[in-house]
Symmetry: C2
Subunit: 364 residues, 2 copies
C-alpha cells in the first residue's frame, strides 16, 4: 500500500476512534477503550505470520475514574492534534508532542511526562492498527545507513530523489529516512542483505569491498536498531525476496538485537507484522565461534549471565540452536565482539569468517 | 594541505619517531619519549590561535623500568602497523587495533585493554603532530549529517562522488564520512552554519525548510559531536569564511557540547587547531530563554548542579555571558531542552526563536 493511502487510512482510523467515544457518550455509556494487555505473558507466536503477537488478554481504559477519564481526555486531544497534522501533511517527534501539550487549552489534557505521551501514541497504534509513522510521528533519532548495489527512489517533501546506494553516496552510505515507506526500490543487483551491529564493522566491510564482491546490501544497525532500520530490512525481504542475515557481537544484548530484527520486541509486539523479518538468519559471533576461532574475549558479567538466563525463557529463543549456544556461553563464561575477528587480521572477517558461515547457511 | 600529502607526512613522522628510538639505542641511551602532561591544569588559552592548548609541563615515558620499556615496545609495534597500513592505503578502527595486537609475535607488545591502545594512539598524535585520521585510524561511529545548499566532492576508495547536500540526498541528508578531509567544497549558497544537538530538532528545521529559507547548512551534532563532525564544521568556517552557530539544549552537558565545538576538549587539546572553531557562537537555549519564553523545564539534578559549578571554573567558560547564564541557571534551578520550544507551537523555533536570536547576534 502506498504511503499516501496509509496516511488516509491513519486519519480515518483516528477519527473513527474519536467517533466511537462520541457514540458511547451519545448512548449514555461511560466511554472506554480496549487494549491488549502488554506483558510478556501475553505475547504468543503466530503460526501464520511467523512473528510474536499479543495474546487474547485485554485491558480496559474507562472514564469511570478521574484517572481513567483524564487518560481518555488526553487521547482525544492527541487524536485531534494527529488528525490536524495529517491534514496539513506535517510531522513531529514524540518529544515535541509532549511539549506541545503544554499549549493545549485544557490543562487536564497536558501530559505529565514523556512516558505518558509515548505510551499513548503506542496505544493509538494498537487500537487504530496503523503505525506511528502513518501518524507522521517521527522518532528522535533516524535510522542508520545502507551501502550496496540498489537504486532507490525517495519521496521527500522537496520532490523525488533517485539514489544508487553505492554510486551516488559517499563512504558514509545512504542515510535511511525516518519513514522508509517513502522509499521505492528500483533496480538492484543485491543477492542478500547483511545487517551489521557496529559502525566499526560496517566500515570494515565497506573498506574491504564486501558489498561489491558478494553483491551485498550492508545495513548498519547502529546497536539496537531504530524502527526505520527494521522496517526497511523487512521491506527488502518481503518485496525483493532477499535473504536477510544479521551480524552482531556474541553477547546476550546482541542476541536481543537479532531477536528484535527477526521476531520484534515485546514493547512493539503490535508492530511485528510491520517491523519483524522472521526469516532473518543469525550470522553473528556464536559462542561456538569463540571456541572454534579462539577469539579474544571478555568474561561474562553478572548482568550478562542474567540476560542469558532470561533468554533461555524468552519465547523468541526456543530453538535448538539458541539453547545450545546460550548454554555453551554460560559454560565457557565468555563473550566476544565482532571486531575481535581482527585478532586474525583485518581481512579475516571478509576472506574467511563470513564466506565460511554464509556458505554453511546456504546464502553463498 | 591535501589528504595525500598529510598521509605522507604522517608516515614520515611515524618513521622519524621510530628512528629516534633507534638513535637513542645507538648512542647507548635509554630510549624515551616526551609528552605534554595531559591534565586540566596544563591546558592554557593560546592567544594566537584562540583555542585551548597544552601548557609547558611535560611527562617522560622512559624504558628505564619494565613498565616503561613495555610501553615503548607497544609504541614501536603500533608504529610499524600504522606505517604498513598507510603504505597499503588501508584503515582500521581503534578497536581493531586493540584486537589486532593479539596477532603480534611478541606477547609483551600486546595491549591489555582498549584504553591502553587508545591512549597510545593519542600519544602518537601528540608527538608526531599529525592526527589519528592521517594514520587512517577510524572512530567506531561516523560523523553525523549535513543538509544545506552546498555541493561537495568526496574522494572515496571507489572514486570521486559529487553530491549536492539538498538536491542529491534524501531527507536524512548527507552522511559525513569518517575522515572529512576527503571532502572538497565546491560551489555553495550557504550564509551560515547551524550545528544542532538533537535529531528531533534537526528534523524540525529540515521539515520547516529553515535551510532553504535562510540558506543555512544544518549540521546534526548527534549529542557530543564526533571528531568528523567537529572537523568539517571547522573547515566550513576556515575555508568558506562562514559564521558557525551551535544550537543545543539549555543544560550543562549541552554547554559542554558547545564548548567542544568552539574550544576543543581537555582530552583532545593537542587537536584544537584541527578540530576547534573558536568563532562558533552559542544560539542554544539560555537560562535567560527559560525565563523570557517561560519554557517547560525540568529541575536541575545534583549532577547538573555539580557540572554547572565545575563550568564556572572551566577556562572555556570564563566570559561575562557564561558566568551570568550559569549563575542564573543555578538560581532558577531549572533546565530546558531545545524541543521545549514546541510548547509554543511547532513553528515557533523557525518563525520566532531562531530568527530573533540570530538577528540579535548579527548573523541574520
Amino acid at each position: 500500500m502506498s504511503a499516501k493511502t496509509q496516511e488516509e487510512k491513519a486519519r480515518e482510523q483516528l477519527i473513527d476512534l474519536a467517533a466511537e467515544f462520541y457514540d458511547q457518550f451519545a448512548r449514555g455509556e461511560i466511554p472506554e477503550m480496549q487494549l491488549p494487555t502488554r506483558t510478556k505473558s501475553n505475547i504468543e507466536y503466530d503460526e501464520d505470520s511467523n512473528v510474536w503477537v499479543y495474546g487474547d488478554r485485554t485491558s480496559t481504559r474507562s472514564a469511570n475514574s478521574v484517572r481513567g477519564a483524564r487518560k481518555l481526555l488526553k487521547a482525544i486531544y492527541t487524536i485531534d492534534f494527529l488528525a490536524q497534522q495529517l491534514d496539513q501533511d506535517r510531522s513531529s517527534t514524540l518529544r515535541e508532542l509532549y511539549y506541545l501539550s503544554e499549549s493545549w487549552d485544557n490543562e487536564e489534557a497536558q501530559f505529565n511526562d514523556q512516558d505518558e505521551s509515548n505510551q499513548l501514541v503506542e496505544d493509538l497504534e494498537i487500537v487504530s492498527e496503523v503505525t506511528r509513522e502513518d501518524f507522521h510521528m517521527r522518532p528522535e533519532e533516524s535510522g542508520a545507513t545502507l551501502m550496496g548495489p540498489i537504486r532507490i527512489r525517495e519521496q521527500t517533501r522537496r520532490g523525488e530523489r533517485e539514489i544508487h546506494c553505492q554510486d551516488d553516496v559517499g563512504e558514509g552510505g545512504y542515510q535511511i529516512p525516518n519513514n522508509p515507506d517513502t522509499i521505492e526500490f528500483l533496480e538492484h543487483d543485491v543477492d542478500f542483505v547483511l545487517c551489521v551491529e557496529t559502525g566499526g564493522m560496517r566500515d570494515r566491510l565497506v573498506e574491504n569491498g564486501f558489498d561489491e564482491q558478494y553483491n551485498v546490501l550492508v545495513v548498519h544497525l547502529k546497536g539496537q536498531p531504530a524502527r526505520a532500520t527494521r522496517r526497511i530490512t523487512k521491506r527488502l525481504h518481503d518485496e525483493l525476496d532477499l535473504p536477510v542475515t544479521v551480524f552482531t557481537d556474541g553477547d546476550p544484548w546482541s542476541y536481543r538485537i537479532y531477536g528484535s530484527v527477526a521476531y520484534g520486541s515485546i514493547k512493539s509486539a503490535h508492530l511485528s507484522e510491520y517491523l519483524a523479518t522472521p526469516a532473518a538468519q543469525y550470522v553473528g559471533i556464536r559462542p561456538q565461534d569463540i571456541v572454534d576461532y579462539d577469539l579474544p574475549t571478555d568474561p561474562l558479567s553478572d548482568s550478562d549471565i542474567n540476560a542469558l538466563e532470561s533468554e533461555l525463557e524468552d519465547p523468541r529463543f526456543q530453538t535448538d540452536f539458541w539453547r545450545e549456544q546460550i548454554e555453551l556461553q554460560l559454560e565457557i563464561g565468555k563473550k566476544a565482539e565482532q571486531q575481535a575477528l581482527a585478532s586474525r587480521g583485518l581481512d579475516f572477517v571478509t576472506d574467511t569468517y563470513l564466506p565460511e558461515r554464509l556458505t554453511e547457511m546456504g546464502i553463498l
